[in-house]
């Protein structure tokens, strides 16, 4: 499914507003960066509450499709700047990780 379709369905706040057309092949949920490095797959959308600049490097190195930051946490300015440079999409939602993961599961797995 396309990233912009997911953005619309989940009413996500788009913090980078540039990268829309990417395909989302799956989802990974974790706040441990080495766990994402070890277990996320390329194309995954990553749900986390981490907001510091290293999340951009993780997403870039793993070829993730986008990052969703939950609980309306505000990413550091450095994170946004780096994400623009590296062309990594970052979204934000007031929903908790549980809520957003549940909705995504329904959208991608269809029940």
């Amino acid at each position: 499914m396309k990233l912009n379709e997911i953005k619309r369905l989940l009413n996500l706040e788009d913090l980078i507003e540039d990268i829309q057309g990417r395909d989302v092949s799956g989802v990974y949920v974790s706040d441990l960066l080495s766990d994402v490095m070890a277990n996320a797959r390329p194309g995954d959308l990553w749900i986390t509450l981490q907001t510091h600049v290293n999340i951009v490097a993780v997403a870039s190195l793993k070829n993730l499709s986008a990052i969703i930051i939950t609980n309306n946490r505000k990413p550091d300015d450095e994170t946004i700047k780096k994400a623009r440079e590296e062309r990594i999409a970052i979204f934000r939602t007031p929903l908790s990780t549980f809520e957003i993961a549940g909705r995504l599961y329904r959208i991608l797995k269809g029940d």
Binding site: A38, P42, N54, V56, A57, V58, S60, L61
Partner: protein, 148 residues
Amino acid sequence: MKLSETIEGSFSILGGDFARGGAASCELKSILEKLGLPEDIIQRATISAFEAEMNVIIHAIAGTMLYSVTPERIKIVVTDMGPGIPDIELAMQEGYSTAPEWVKEMGWGAGMGLPNMKKNADVFNIDSVVGEGTTVELIIYTQKRGES
């Protein structure tokens, strides 16, 4: 770029420089992509390079990442001036970490770095002297055995 000879280079890494965390590994990744290596090989190389780079940033004063790529393999050597590891066997255990609490709050220091390197590299060597520093050597073969 074409891979008929050895391509090599190095990056310096500054301890505590979280703002540039991953900069060396990202650059290495784009070099490997330009060489046209398969995605899964690039993934394994960059995952292990990134973990080694972050260990320098988390634990050491400074370090360097040397890489060399031949048609057969990618070799990455990360050397640091740092505290060293007193018990390597213990440090290799998944979940064991000596990272400070604030680093753990960033989602690092889960005790997965060294195991991730070992899992992703075909050859993993580590050498450490307490009070001096640590060197990890990572080799990822670019072709399956029997292919040429």
